[in-house]
Structure formats: C-alpha cells, structure tokens
C-alpha cells in the first residue's frame, strides 16, 4: 500500500486507526476503549512482527490433502429444521428471520 492512503495504519507513526478497524469488524467502540486499544493493538502487532525474520523461502507442502466433501445427494426433506433454527433467532416474521432495513428512512 505504498502509494495509497492507508485507512487503517496511520502513516506517520506506528499507530493504528482503531475507528476504521472497528468499522471493518462491525464493532462499536467507545472513546475510552479507543484510547486503550490505541496502545494495546500496536503492542500486540509489534509482538507478532518477529515472524518477519523467519525464512520461508521453501514452499509449503500440500501432500496428504484429501477430498472432504460429500456427494451432493440425498437432501433432507424441505422444512425439517425450519422451526428449530427459527427458534434461535431473536426476531422472526412467519417463517423468516426478521432483519432491519439496510438504509434508514429517517435520513
């Protein structure tokens, strides 16, 4: 990302833009927590950056891989699990999981 503006990593320092990161992670973060995370996250990243020293020029082995997919056949009867799955959902409308609108009408 050399010649683009980096939305996460702040260019001038080792800092991380927690607000941008939290948005990507679909996580609301309070101002107090942002202040704490602005120290902790770079500490953690500095800690894991030691792997950059490792020489990984040899290729990863892929032998021993096997097909783990079953044949696409014998489906269960339609609707068999509908009720049990819907029971776990916080909100339902009929036989659907109810969700809020993507864009607010108020704005």
């Amino acid at each position: 990302m050399a010649d683009k503006v980096d939305p996460i990593r702040e260019q001038a320092s080792n800092g991380v833009n927690i607000t941008a990161l939290a948005k990507l992670a679909r996580l609301e973060v309070s101002d107090a927590e942002i202040a704490k995370l602005e120290k902790e996250i770079p500490d953690i990243l500095a800690f894991v950056e030691t792997i950059q020293k490792a020489d990984v020029s040899t290729e990863a082995k892929t032998d021993g891989l096997r097909n783990v997919m079953r044949a696409d056949e014998n489906p269960h009867e339609s609707g068999k699990y509908t009720e049990v799955l819907l029971k776990a959902a916080p909100a339902r409308e009929g036989n659907r999981v109810a969700v809020k609108q993507v864009i607010s009408r108020k704005k």
Binding site: A25, V56, V99
Partner: protein, 467 residues
Amino acid sequence: MDLSTLTIAEARRALDAKEYSALDLTNAYLDAIVKKDGEIHAYLEVWTDSAREEAKAADAVIAAGKSQPLTGIPIAVKDNMLIEGRIVSAASKILENYRASYDATVISKLKAQGVVFLGRTNMDEFALGSSTENSAYGPTKNPHDTSRVPGGTSGGSAAAVAAGMALAALGSDTGGSIRQPAAFCGVVGLKPTYGAVSRSGLIAAASSLDQIGTLAKNVGDAKILFDAIRGHDPMDSTSLPDNAAAAKGERKTIGVPREFLNDLNAEVRAQFDATVQTLKDKGYSVVDVALPSLQYALAVYYIINPAEVSTNLARLDGIRYGLSVPADVIGEVYSKTRAAGFGAETRRRILVGTFVLSSGYADAYYRKARSVRELIRADFAKAFEGVDAIVMPTTPSPAFKLGEKNNDPVSLYLEDIFTVPVNLAGVPAISVPGGTVERDEKKLPVGFQIIGAWGGEETLFAIGKDV
C-alpha cells in the same frame, strides 16, 4: 467413597459390583458442588435434576448387566459444547440465553454410554485467554490456592476435577486450554491429535487449532474418556479417517528441546529435570532435539488465532441467535450487539484478526504466519524421525494471582509459549502432574508435558503412566 481419590476405573468397578449406585455417586458429586463451588466457581450451571434422572437410567442399565466404560460416570462439560435444549454460552453475554438446537458429536457419544452430565463449566469467553478471568460470569479460582487462577481457558473443567466436583471433564484446547489449566490444578489434561475428536457442536474459536480433549485425575481416566469421544465424524470435515496411521514406536526415546528451555524459571526447571530423571531411571533414553522454528510459535499463534476468531465470531451479529440490540438499521444492530455482547479480550482479538486479514496486511501477517506454521510443523516431523516423544514443561511458571496479568495482554500471551507449538503442528500432547513449587507457603502444582507424533496418543499414555 472418597471423591478426592476416586477414579473412573475404580467407580466403574464399584458400580458394577453394586457397592454403590450411580445415583449415590451422582448425589455425592452434587453435594460436593454445593459445598465447594461457592468458593471455586467452576460451574456456570449445575443440572441437579437431570443428572439424577440420568443416574437412575444408568442404574437400570447397570442392573441389566449392560454397562459400558462410562455408564453412570458423572462428568462436567465445558460451556462451549452443545447439548440439545440446554443453554451453552461460551461464557459470553452474547450467548447468555442461547439454547443448543442439537447435540455435539462428543455429547451424542457420551449419551450413548449413559454418562451423567453434572453441569457446564466456566471458561474464558469464546476460549480466549489463559486464566478463566475473561469469563463474562466471573473467574474460577484455583482449588490449591483460591487467590490464584486455575488457568484457562478450560479452567472450570480443571478446577472441577481437581476439587472433586466431577470425576472427569471435557475441555477444548486451542493453544493450551486443556493442558495449562490441568498443570495449574494438578490434574491430567489431554489435547488429542487435530482431527482425532469431532469438533461438530463445539463453538468454534480458531478452527484450525481447536480440539476437544479430556481432563481427569490420572492418565488411565483421560484415556477412557478419550476412547469414548474419538473417531471419524462425517459432520466435521477436518476429522481424521479412522484408519489414519497411528504413530508407532518403541516409546523409549525421548527428546528434550534444550535450547527452547533456556529462560525457564529455576524451580520449574528443577521439577522438570527431576521428572526427566525419573524416566531415565525407568529405562528411557533422553536425547536433545532441535526445534529452531519454535521461537516464532507465539507470534504465529497470535496472528492465526485472532484471524480465525474474527472470522468465526462474525456469525454473532444479533440476527440468527443470541443477544440482539435494537437499532434502526441493520449495520447498527450488528455493531451495537457485538459491542454489548463481547468482552474486552474478545473485542481485542476481533480487531487484531481484522487487521491481520485486511487488504494490504494479509500477506505480511496472516499468509506469512501460515508459512511459518509449516516450518514449525516440519520441525516436529523431523524431530519425530528420531524420538518417540518430546517433553517440556507445560507452562513457564505455576498458577499466577488473580488480576496479576489483567492489564497487559502480551504478558498473558507469553504464558502459552510451551503449549501453542503443539496446536500449530496439530500433534497430540498430554500434561501430567510434574511436582510442585512453593509460593506464599502453598504448594502449587506444575505440569510435565509429553508431546507425541500425529496419532501418537497411545505413546503419550504409556509414557505418562511412567512419570
């Protein structure tokens, strides 16, 4: 019956000999929980009524002469394995009221044997931590010194077994979450080969590292419970075929990675050396092994773990299950629900995971970590060409004080130095009690870790019994 020394093997004998009933045994454990768990807090929920019903059903099976190894045996289950109809929360607020819609495969297998389920045990939220202090429902305390942590993330399971509040327990181990609490609580903890036990119905933390295993008073009991839950499962695409090659060996040559143990605490080192000497005295030959890439293990782990955690926990967004915080638009339902439902360490891992997977950083962090992980795996493969097992301490020090490492995530991560390489390589390992060290005039247990080649559980049991 003396619950502090009772084993599964002895209980089996006594139940089949009708010296006491499964109901007597279950009631003894329920009484012990009432008496002790107010202080220890190993359990998040105790299933008193259903446990008694299961015990009565087990008594009928025993009376009919049809008992299996675990019929009527009271065990505890970590709060991240699904039992149909029961709350399973992964010790998180986001799943506080979530009821499982099916049985985990390990639970189905234990139900088929007539096991008695005593309750669900405390853990670090979503199996993220090393002390059980990250539980949304308060920490568990170490039965050997209640001012100290029991370890984590399966701290509740380890404390329950150590305090005589369960005969054995199921845990899960992503970076040491069975072995480290077993070490801190003075019990045996087994992390099987990746794929040996089905993960179907285990709430995922980091899927390429997670493995269900057993906590018990001795090696024999850990094996009995492991034998009951192992095996291929079509519901888990990473579960190994039953004919997967088991490691074979003379079980008499043990490797010690001396270079990796240089900075070890002197007392822990002395206990470790004494245990190695015990094995030498029993005819084992001990050689040095080199595992040069292990120096990167913690860094690799703390990239891969948050990456997978952030991906797995994306499903918890207030739509399909669990907590849902109302908001006008769906994006805010996600972000408010996740803020309200996840604890501080979980949020930290999600953010680190999001960073190392983000466009522009995935190559330098996540993909690089995967490559270095292959080097670690290759180190183990090479070492096992010359030795039957590798031994090292389970942890660098004994149980630490509650709150001691709360303010510094990285110092807590360092606790996992001897356990995470095992998960990265996917090999099996067992922690067995390896002596004690004294702190504040209390004797605290330390663990001796035996690591086997892929499929080498039987080697671990054989050596573990000689420790």
